[in-house]
């Protein structure tokens, strides 16, 4: 046989083999991925595919550890889900909100603003693409976002099913075995507290530089809630590391265009901080309860069909 035909024939056999195993194995991993009940991905999946709650909370790990949906539901009578995800920033919140709004309109959206959310994060686009890749065929907003961020990854995700679940097998096993942190309607409680000696620190971040993309994403987030008449609350939750830069002013200047303002709770628990914090950035269970109570009283009492029980 001619060597070129031999190569063509054998290459074709391998391609077919690759195609079949890629589709089969990919579909199997996708099945387990979309059926996760615990972990960060389960929260994102809920937001992208089946959020139907009245109140939705957006943010990063501080959101996921600071707002207790069950307490909000109990006190307001409104269903609530915490969509906070560790390590994320404005671009993620915006994409997630747009995905939710493509099929559901909540009554209230709470955005937990981290004072570093407007800052550029190294390789954020890659991180964002990696997190949202499994949903590329599930939601138009996400598909468009991935196309904008990386045409290469967009193409690969359409060629290979397995690529869409890249690097996920380990976490899928972990979440199905329920190893690690558990969440309750997206809320992840933290047990333990800071040492007695811990005090609130004021950080003067001289290198703080706002990213245009993050600011645009923030404004788009606000606009998206406005276009659907959703009540938006932008809050900065408590922390023991208080940044002294201008993020709050920037947020307010954008929000004021829409008759909104940012509520700053960052120094709410300065007095007995060490008992209420798990670490400098996150409240423990007791702190989260106290903070959620404050949020309910300050922001969620006047929602139609809701009443303080």
């Amino acid at each position: 046989m001619e060597p070129s035909y031999k190569l063509l024939r054998n290459g074709l056999i391998i391609l077919v083999l690759l195609f079949v195993t890629d589709r089969a194995l990919g579909a199997l991993i996708e099945h387990f991925f979309f059926n996760e009940k615990q972990g960060d991905s389960a929260v994102t999946t809920h937001g992208i595919l089946d959020a139907n709650e009245d109140i939705l909370i957006f943010g990063n790990s501080r959101a996921s550890h600071h707002y207790i949906p069950e307490l909000i539901t109990e006190k307001t009578g409104l269903s609530c889900y915490n969509l906070g995800r560790d390590g994320m920033k404005m671009l993620y919140y915006e994409t997630l909100l747009k995905s939710v709004l493509s099929y559901h309109t909540p009554k209230v959206v709470i955005l937990d603003l981290n004072l570093n959310d407007f800052e550029y994060q190294h390789q954020e686009e890659q991180k964002l693409t990696a997190v949202l890749m499994p949903y590329i065929n599930k939601n138009k907003e996400i598909s468009e976002m991935i196309y904008t961020q990386s045409k290469m990854q967009f193409s690969l995700a359409h060629i290979s099913t397995l690529y869409r679940v890249n690097s996920l097998p380990m976490s899928i096993v972990q979440h199905h075995l329920e190893i690690g942190q558990k969440h309750f309607s997206g809320y992840e409680p933290l047990s333990g507290n800071m040492p007695q000696s811990a005090t609130v620190q004021h950080i003067d971040n001289a290198n703080y530089k706002e990213s245009k993309d993050q600011l645009t994403a923030f404004e788009n987030f606000v606009k998206a809630t406005r276009s659907k008449n959703i009540k938006l609350h932008v809050l900065v939750s408590p922390g023991m590391k208080i940044h002294k830069h201008n993020a709050l002013k920037t947020a307010d200047s954008i929000l004021s265009k829409y008759d909104l303002k940012c509520y700053n709770y960052s120094e709410l628990f300065n007095a007995n901080a060490n008992k209420l914090f798990y670490d400098v950035g996150h409240l423990n269970e007791i702190g989260a309860k106290a903070f959620t109570d404050s949020v309910i009283v300050d922001h969620l009492t006047e929602i139609p069909a809701a009443g303080i029980n």
Binding site: P3, K6, L7, L18, M152, S155, Y163, N166, S167, Q174
Partner: protein, 472 residues
């Protein structure tokens, strides 16, 4: 254009068939044009630098061949000065200026020499060294001067090894461009296997490890001694898989077209001594320094103190070759010191100190690995002060706990290092056992190919990570 990009994939599947479809006399044109395109996808204007050195060395080669005595030497010196001059301007000028400013500042003077606002051309040290090896070999009479300007240009610019080697010798590659390469099934398959394995090492192992290593080394002062040890070991495997992965892809791409490039790595972390390590790590560079610097300095055929000095000089220069930073110079100096100790205690090293040969060998492999890792600290750290602080944290076991990053990422990193070590160990000591890629049973062979490709897709890190050695 990176080897781990879709851009390269399309480039490769267009250029390779076109190469075989063209008549032999036109192939060099295709390869040269595609190599120019490949290089210009980085910073287009820097092709002019390559053009400059190519023209100088092409004519220098012919003039050297046609001259005798002092004149011959003059042409060689002219060529070397031009090449080293380009390196000096683009790679070392700002570094030297920095150090001058520091020295003058210490004695109360200000340095008014301006800095150059230039980017380092990709792979400059690689193609410059390859170009220099040509004129030196012509001078030594080991290589005839290449009269065909296009073929000579291709020798410097051949895209598979243009930006990160292997640094070829003219005797090995130049004549291959004159010979008609026929489509050969074995060559194509062997080449594709190498490309796949190289890609696996790059995107599955190196880029995975880089996530952890970057997180630790970019905030080294925040991490415990234990974390820094783990990050350093991870970096050792990262740089190995990154660079050897690149070399495998380069050799594989050339092999598909029928060209044989020299081997660049031979399981370096299984070396039993530092000398052995350097016969396995970046072989094309270490043999370059051996042939064109160490031997001319007198090698080992001189008095012992001079021999030690020769070793030290070679490794210092090797450090400087890697980059214009004191971290690389210290890294080179450390390897120079290791070499001197290694040859001084040769007899001790050969003794069976643990009484059981396999155990003694394992001890030597581990000791060599530890020494190499220690030197990697200087290679990876952002500056020398930081490197010394990292050493201090490691030796005092500063802080507590181990930074994991993302647990799954950490576990993947460990699994792939273990996988690599098993493959390398088996290849080193029981090469007949690895039959997956070479099994006579087609089902086993194809299953092997499928699994490795699926591993790349499922576990690879596709963040467009550059190859570390591009910067050199």
């Amino acid at each position: 254009m990176l080897f781990n990009s879709l851009h390269f994939f399309f480039f490769f599947i267009l250029v390779t068939p076109a190469f075989f479809l063209l008549p032999h006399q036109h192939r060099w044109k295709l390869l040269l044009a595609s190599s120019c395109y490949f290089y210009m996808t980085f910073v287009p204007v820097y092709i002019l630098i390559l053009g400059f050195t190519i023209i100088i060395d092409y004519f220098a080669g012919i003039l050297i061949e046609n001259s005798k005595g002092k004149k011959k030497k003059k042409f060689l010196i002219l060529s070397l000065v031009a090449n080293i001059g380009v390196l000096a301007v683009f790679k070392y000028y700002n570094f030297l200026n920095d150090n001058l400013s520091f020295l003058l500042g210490n004695i109360g003077y200000q340095n008014h020499v301006p800095y150059l606002e230039i980017l380092l051309p990709i792979g400059l040290s690689f193609h410059t060294f390859q170009a220099m090896s040509y004129t030196i070999e012509v001078y030594r009479g080991n290589q005839k001067a290449e009269k065909h300007f296009g073929i000579y240009s291709l020798y410097v610019m051949f895209y598979p090894q243009l930006v990160a080697g292997p640094i070829e010798r003219p005797q090995n590659i130049l004549h291959q461009f004159h010979v008609k390469q026929y489509f050969n099934y074995t060559n194509v398959v062997e080449g594709l296997k190498l490309i796949t394995w190289g890609l696996f090492k790059k995107v599955v192992i190196a880029d995975r490890l880089s996530i952890y290593v970057d997180a630790v080394y970019n905030n080294a002062d925040q991490h415990s001694g234990l974390t820094l040890i783990v990050a350093t070991v991870f970096f050792a495997f990262q740089i190995y898989c990154d660079f050897s992965g690149y070399s495998d892809i380069a050799i594989g791409c050339a092999r598909v077209m029928g060209y044989n490039l020299m081997i660049n790595f031979r399981r370096p972390y299984l070396a039993g001594s530092i000398k052995d390590f350097w016969s396995r790590w970046h072989i094309s560079l270490s043999t370059w320094f051996r042939d064109y610097l160490y031997f001319p300095l007198g090698g080992s055929k001189v008095a012992i103190p001079r021999w030690y000095l020769n070793l030290f000089i070679v490794f210092m220069v090797s450090g400087l070759w890697h980059g214009a930073n004191w971290t690389f110079i210290v890294w080179g100096a450390l390897h120079g010191i290791y070499q001197i100790f290694s040859v001084s205690f040769k007899k001790f090293n050969e003794r069976n100190i643990l009484g059981y040969r396999p155990l003694t060998n394992a001890f030597h492999v581990l000791l060599t690995f530890a020494l190499v890792c220690f030197a990697w600290i200087f290679f990876r750290a952002n500056n020398v002060t930081e490197a010394f602080n990292i050493c201090k944290s490691i030796f005092t076991l500063k802080g507590e706990g181990l930074f994991i990053g993302t647990p799954e990422g950490f576990v993947y990193a460990l699994i792939w290092i273990l996988f690599l070590l098993v493959v390398e160990y088996i290849t080193e000591y029981h090469s007949d056992i690895i039959k997956v890629f070479y099994s006579s049973n087609r089902v086993v062979r194809y299953a092997g190919y499928t699994v490795i490709v699926l591993f790349i897709i499922l576990f690879g890190v596709f963040n467009g990570g550059q190859f570390i050695y591009f910067q050199f």
